[in-house]
């Protein structure tokens, strides 16, 4: 048995050896985004509603100039477990937009003030218009962006496997918002000798290091009224939290339900264990 174990171990080492040069070959120079402290991480995580309100502000004043968020309606801004604006605030926020509606009885399209039930309108009439205005690059829709972005902290064996297992055990699910914060703060001057084509920008976090979006956030750009520092880093965290909520608006409900389900199942399983033991007590097995 010991010989087999030694053989297995030797095999494992050989395999790991065969894999590592392979991964080293294609090592890219991406910066791994830092882990942020999120109020919504962990089993009891909830959104910081003030942060979501600030994040919405950043989205509205900066991101939404180019990006759509088509699955989000103004009414959602008042939902429980979201930014929790009051109903009147939501009405006022929506009314600041002109929404194309129709056709009316005369068969004509018309513009009206936005209502709470409207979905977020997009600056551009269609993706082609968005591309034309953005040097040929289409700004992605932001509805589920925070779940559509991820990264690996390492890509060599067995670090990748152990990290994945650790993510399950520690419930680390915030790759998306961490990536967004990393990317928004990842703009840098390209290293000497690196050519950057016109219309592209150098970013340490973006895969391939080239991104069409110019650095969108700078200090003092968005006005905060609650005394939160008006820095680009703070904006990036707030908007990433807002995007996480947009992507996963039922996160609070999910985690709360999960806790109840877990308590119920663990109690039920414990009782079942005792029942099973009692039933089997008189039977050798």
């Amino acid at each position: 048995m010991l010989k087999i174990k030694i053989a297995l171990f030797a095999g494992f080492v050989a395999v790991a050896g065969a894999l590592s040069p392979a991964t080293a070959q294609e090592a890219h120079h991406n910066l791994v985004p830092e882990k942020q402290n999120w109020s919504f991480s962990g089993p009891f995580g909830t959104y910081d509603h003030a942060q979501l309100q600030r994040g919405y502000r950043v989205f509205r004043e900066v991101c939404s100039n180019c990006h759509s968020m088509k699955f989000m309606a103004f009414r959602n801004l008042a939902d429980k477990g979201g930014p929790e604006f009051s109903e009147s605030q939501v009405k006022a926020l929506a009314a600041e937009y002109k929404i194309k509606d129709g056709p009316n009885d005369a068969g004509e399209m018309y513009e009206r003030a936005g209502r709470a039930s409207d979905y977020f309108p997009w600056t551009f009439a269609n993706p082609e218009a968005a591309k034309a205005a953005n040097g040929g690059a289409l700004p992605p829709d932001m509805s589920v962006l925070a779940k559509a972005r991820s990264f690996h902290r390492c890509d060599w064996f067995p670090c990748d496997v152990s990290n994945a297992l650790l993510d399950v055990v520690t419930q680390y699910q915030e790759h998306g918002p961490d990536y967004i914060v990393g990317l928004l703060n990842g703009y840098a001057t390209p290293p000497a000798g690196e050519e950057i084509a016109p219309g592209l920008n150098y970013n340490l976090v973006m895969p391939g290091n080239k991104i069409a979006m110019a650095k969108p956030l700078s200090d003092g750009q968005v006005d905060y009224t609650d005394g939160t520092p008006k820095t680009a880093v703070q904006y990036s965290r707030d908007v990433a939290a807002f995007l996480m909520w947009a992507a996963e608006p039922k996160l609070e409900e999910r985690k709360k339900t999960g806790f109840r389900a877990m308590v119920f199942l663990i109690l039920f399983a414990t009782l079942m264990w005792f029942v099973k033991r009692r039933v089997w007590a008189d039977v050798a097995h």
Binding site: L19, A22, F71, S143, A148, R149, V168, R254, A261
Partner: protein, 426 residues
């Protein structure tokens, strides 16, 4: 095993019904009085867990269908509608998506249990083959289900897998076009996958009934691998013994399942599938769902496309011939020390193939994948047939009752039987 029925109708109505449709008798004989070996460990609870998962998938799936739109421009949005606007839609979708993974976790444990304890050997060959058919149907169902949200991985996964059929000589391209319902993966493909994704689970349910029927004819295998000789000494009634044990195991499994559903619901998926399908943008790295990864690694390990496809399908089809490839008369690995070592090597090779399937192909990963793929086939085609001829098994207990006595009786008598148990904790 299916001896005479012990069911006695207790009142006038049940007597009346029993003479016309003995359905209560059937249920009683199958799930109450059915004799089950008393030495089963927790690896025998996965049959019940799998039935539970099939029901869970069908129930959540039926409700999801009420809100889902199988149309290429609306599918992605309808999934988001489920996540945002449908009452507990997020729960239904996460239960269903993670349920597929849990189904495969359970089926792989169930299959490796069968491999370890030789559950495929006579007289259980048909039972085993029906299991292989269920596994194939599950893979088809899971694959088509993953296409339905119409994200980037859905689309490109569908493209890669359906394109495999183009490797068939002469008719390959026509077959692929026929599968797609057009000249690329598009709305007709989504529509037919939706239809089949709805149909196949009911076919699975049908084969499961045959699987359970076959099981109840030949009886369960057990950790000692020796057949039941005396029903009174070797077995206990299904209810309450197996029901309470299976119930406890199911609850533990549900806790594991809930961890994923409520706390890391997107861990087993791929971030790219939250990007709507786009035929013009290929993802940097197309990977199938984790449960296909070992087979995906085998596919990529073979240098020729047709060869890869043949290897991948053979890797599954091979399992159906297992009852005749394994020449050993002894079922349980508990009494086959050499086979036991090879079993664990196979487990590691399968896990290794799974890992390699998840990695971008490089010279290093392809090299290792080729060794592992060769070993996988060697295990079934060379090692198993030869091992039965050369291996000297340990002394078998004369009966299940003896095996239990050896285990629980005295410390000296524990011997190999107890030491070799891979797991008694479940």
């Amino acid at each position: 095993m299916s001896g005479h029925s012990s069911y006695t109708p207790s009142n006038g109505f049940s007597r009346w019904l029993d003479n016309r449709l003995p359905i209560v008798r059937l249920a009683h004989d199958s799930f109450v009085s059915y004799p089950t070996p008393r030495n089963l460990n927790y690896f025998w609870t996965f049959g019940g867990i799998l039935s539970l998962m099939l029901v869970a998938q069908i129930v959540t799936g039926i409700v999801l269908v009420m809100h889902y739109t199988p149309e290429s421009t609306m599918a992605f949005g309808s999934v988001e509608h489920i996540m945002r606007d449908v009452n507990y839609g997020w729960l239904l979708r996460y239960l269903h998506a993670n349920g597929a993974s849990m189904f495969f976790v359970a089926v792989y444990l169930h299959m490796f249990r069968g491999l370890y304890y030789g559950s495929y050997k006579a007289p259980r060959e048909v039972l085993w083959i029906l299991g292989v058919i269920i596994f194939l149907l599950m893979m088809a169902t899971g694959f088509m289900g993953y296409v339905l949200p119409w994200g980037q991985m859905s689309f490109w996964g569908a493209k890669v897998i359906t394109s495999l059929f183009s490797a068939i000589p002469i008719v390959g391209d026509s077959v692929t076009t026929w599968l797609w319902g057009g000249y690329s993966v598009d709305n007709p493909t989504l529509n037919r996958f939706f239809s089949l994704h709805f149909l196949l689970p009911f076919m699975i349910a049908g084969v499961v009934i045959l699987h359970v029927w076959a099981l109840h004819v030949v009886g369960q295998n057990n950790p000692s691998g020796v057949e039941v000789t005396d029903v009174n000494k070797d077995t206990v009634a299904f209810t309450p013994y197996a029901t309470t044990k299976d119930g406890f195991a199911m609850l533990c499994f549900l806790i594991f399942y809930s961890w994923f559903v409520f706390y890391v619901p997107n861990f087993l998926g791929h971030a790219d599938n939250y990007i709507p399908a786009n035929a013009l943008v290929t993802p940097a790295h197309i990977v199938p769902e984790w449960y296909y990864l070992p087979f995906y690694a085998i596919l990529r390990a073979v240098p020729s496309k047709l060869g890869g496809v043949i290897a991948m399908f053979s890797a599954i089809a091979l399992l159906a011939f297992l009852p005749w490839l394994d020449t050993s008369k002894v079922r349980s690995a508990t009494f086959r020390p050499v086979y036991r070592a090879f079993f664990w090597i196979l487990v590691i090779v399968c896990l290794g193939l799974g890992y390699l399937g998840s990695q971008p192909p490089t010279d290093g990963t392809t090299f290792v994948a080729r060794i592992f793929t060769s070993y996988y086939f060697m295990h079934f085609l060379v090692i198993l047939p030869l091992l039965g001829l050369f291996e000297t098994p340990l002394k078998l207990p004369t009966s299940i009752a003896d095996a239990i006595l050896a285990k629980t009786g005295s410390a000296a008598a524990m011997g190999h039987a107890a030491v070799a148990e891979p797991n008694t904790k479940g």
